[in-house]
Symmetry: C2
DNA sequence: GCGATGCTATAGCAGCGCTATGTATTCTGG
DNA sequence: CCAGAATACATAGCGCTGCTATAGCATCGC
């Protein structure tokens, strides 16, 4: 399928153009228009494919009785997904790539993000129910803070500003700071966060 | 100059192309090649212009005796700079935009980031010297955490995933969590962070 | 004054996304 | 089972992109 092909070319740092993506497949450029309504539609499909892969990786994170570990591990899964396919990640979250209308991209990203984001919110809610976080903590807000911080570190890695190992170390500190701020016990939080990276 | 023109067109959401940027200026397309070595060079120049403006806005943040407030305010200045010119911010930090070689963009961003980043590191160092942070805190690492979190929230706003007001609220919580984690007194930290937004 | 050097304008290249058009193929109704 | 309708296809070409080769012009050193 053209979507997988586009994603593969993206990973190989090859330019993905209307003509290059259909070259060798035997199909013509018109197929892109009948199936995807043009290149913006193909980018949209690639974006959804990226979110599907992210969702898959998110689902692979097991649920344990340590919800704080789970919450950490979910964030780690997002980051690992991004670093394993940087260009795809950029297509997913950067409205400029694919030169599509920014608002359309935003809608797609926001909707697709919600699904993968639910897992983090659930983990945060479970942690609160287990007494790890204060009762007045909004799980969605806490998950957003954690996800946004990870997203920022990831984007800086993708932009070449910092290295992946630096981001890894700082993410651990940030996670601990956020979760302790939400009410978790510092020592216990540190252990849970560390466990979140231990596969 | 073509750089300002390109930045202005970027802000007006107009497509910035070789021909469109020179249209009306009287100069020919060749000027872009003699002065900027092609479109990638022009994007590089626009990026530097963006960092210059950011540096200007960073410099406008006054130094007070409350270094934590200053550190917060510097992060706020970065965010405000981004939201006031979203497309320019994307060009600055997104390697894909301008379709330049990713590594070259990374080098430019990393180097230019260092200069604007120094102000945050200095503020963090002053806060540590004032006893607000623990002695074992690395100012550069703490500043990176704060900046990365703000960057992540900003990118999500630019991507349409969250609103600016949501980012504003979460940034305050994140800043407090990070600075308290670094050793600051919770109540005092909250006041300083809040003051960071109060212009 | 004059040759040399550097900048500029023009024309044209290959590539891009996209569309109009004619053809083939596949569903659908009787 | 077959005619008619609807859909998907390949081709050719449009206007645009970044870029470059060439020719003309200005300026500077001597």
């Amino acid at each position: 399928m053209l979507i997988e092909r586009a994603a593969a070319m993206l990973g190989r740092h090859e330019p993905v153009s209307l003509r290059s993506v259909v070259a060798g497949t035997g199909v013509s450029t018109m197929a892109v228009y009948t199936h995807f309504d043009g290149m913006p539609g193909l980018w949209r499909a690639v974006r959804q494919e990226g979110f599907a892969r992210l969702e898959e990786q998110i689902a692979a994170v097991g649920i344990t009785d340590d919800a704080v570990r789970d919450l950490t591990a979910l964030g780690v899964a997002c980051t690992e997904n991004a670093l394993s396919a940087p260009d795809l990640y950029r297509v997913m979250f950067d409205a400029a790539t694919g030169s599509e209308d920014a608002t359309a991209t935003a809608t797609t990203s926001a909707a697709a993000t919600d699904e993968t984001f639910d897992a983090l919110v659930d983990a945060a809610a479970r942690a609160r129910a287990a007494g790890r976080f204060r009762a007045d903590i909004d799980p969605a807000r806490l998950a957003l803070r954690w996800r946004a911080a990870g997203h920022g570190l990831t984007m800086l890695v993708l932009g070449g500003v910092i290295t992946a190992s630096t981001a890894r170390a700082e993410a651990e500190t940030v996670a601990t700071a956020l979760f302790v701020d939400a009410g978790d016990d510092p020592d216990r939080c540190r252990r849970s966060v560390a466990a979140g990276w231990a596969d």
